[in-house]
Subunit: 348 residues, 2 copies
Amino acid sequence: MSAPMQRVALIGFGSVGRAFARLLLRKHEEIRQRYALDIRVTGILTARRGAAWDPEGLDLAAALTIAESGGDLSALSPSPAPAEAIAFIERCPADVVVEITVLNPHTGQPATDHVRAALRSGRHVVTANKGPLAFAYRELRELARSRGRAFLFESTVMDGAPLFSLVREGLPATRIRGFRAILNSTTNFILTRMEEGIPFEEAVREAQTIGIAEADPSNDIDGWDAAVKTCVLANVWMEADLRPDRVERTGIRGIRPEDVADARREGRRIKLVCTAERTDDGEVRARVAPEAVSMEDLLAHVRGTSSAISLRTDTLKQLTLIEHEPEPAQTAFGLLADLLHVARGHWE
Amino acid sequence: MSAPMQRVALIGFGSVGRAFARLLLRKHEEIRQRYALDIRVTGILTARRGAAWDPEGLDLAAALTIAESGGDLSALSPSPAPAEAIAFIERCPADVVVEITVLNPHTGQPATDHVRAALRSGRHVVTANKGPLAFAYRELRELARSRGRAFLFESTVMDGAPLFSLVREGLPATRIRGFRAILNSTTNFILTRMEEGIPFEEAVREAQTIGIAEADPSNDIDGWDAAVKTCVLANVWMEADLRPDRVERTGIRGIRPEDVADARREGRRIKLVCTAERTDDGEVRARVAPEAVSMEDLLAHVRGTSSAISLRTDTLKQLTLIEHEPEPAQTAFGLLADLLHVARGHWE
């Protein structure tokens, strides 16, 4: 049986892109059977490994082999594909553009330009990049609506955990009044290790060793990543129009072992907590700061690299979603879930 | 602006039905604006307060007043409506039948007959009744599919928390490998009180006083309610074809204060845990039993009347959803969410 084709272009082919390719290879037949959909990657653009496109679909297994052996993807392309991103996006034979380039978290670029170009050229967009959401959500949402295209971003917060779809589909006709969350894996890991008696600097080095912290860990430790995610959630769910620098932000650099021990003695744990709430004047106040969380609060029990969010709503009182120890494969799953939302028309 | 109408018949008008009516009155205009949908209750059938129908929609505020003052709803009906359920379901002017009668948990009746009649007469069905799911899920699912109608049941497990929609929408192309859950509020409340030093019998009386336990509490205490819910989840998610009496079941009647104290000394809490897993031979094994849960396990921190479920999947490793201290309004919300899934065509 031939199933309708969904043609997908990947802008970026780093660890998330490759995890997505592996996931699609594993799930392709199951998706064809269950959703009568034939998802094909018809374009891949990389910064340093060339570009390839093929309207019939690229050989993903071959693309993985080339990318992992340091080769050039253009060998897979029946005709030359542009190396420049906007030209590639505008001309690629794809229904959906998946934006997964490396992000500058302080500008949201180049991802925002990529998303804008993709929507303007009539593509649906799926992205794992927080930048376009934190810096240009309203503009991009309106652009997508005006073109009748999807703009989905499940993998931007809590990896691929179905957070946005939970609210969009599971909580219809509901207003989000506020949330409390642990959204940065690296700081939660460091704080968990500090409770176990490991000094801050050593916990940071451990996080670097297992690959969850950068060589310069300040983006996580100073709360920037958490602030960007808090900003995204407030903008998408609470009609806020914040930017990351408008989120009140305190990182964990000042947390000393004795602070962790003092909290522990009081039956509390220090967590980097992200909050958003609507103030009496209707504004949304968003904040990232270390808090000594009571053991009665579920957030106290979210350990290591796990994440959690607790929503307050006007229909269900409170609902909490927890993701346990994510891997790149989970971010890849968020992309796949979004592609299926696009195919099923479940995006508003 | 006139929005398309969704005509809804309520079979049953007890506490959940009345909470639904209040929720719809509160949300009607918001839903009309946001989803361009005009949800109208065009039929209400009760066991002891008569029946009413009106293809233009009944006055819900008036229906609430009558039901709460012990009057007869037939006063609201422009033409006489049948008092007999199957006749009412077959003939009512409704697109969706909402089944919320009082259930016999050992037979699944009369809800199962109501659902079957509604689907056969071409209606979509939304139900808060676990019986049809535990006793006749496969038959009813196939019947709904063959008629191209929705059969949705968000409110059957964890009240209105978006559990089924989380899996259906948020976890596409995913296999549920198993779950661990706390699904019965009454026993979780009793166990929480026992930890606080209250004897079992007194904790049961407290649960009765606050209205979460029946005069005969055995359905909860002996694990029947939890077994029925476990059976529903295994049947819907894991292609099992269980019945409640095939779920291995131990209740909490045998739990003594010293068991709770012993667990506590070992840093554990006793919880009535529902589990399902696929065995090596492909069968689904489902079980309800008290367990001394480690404090490292999030389930240990689900207190009072809250519920939680932790899913293991083949895409996201593990995902946990927690509902905090539900009320009838939350069950009502699950019904409303399902009606919106029907209207948006988001049901497969």
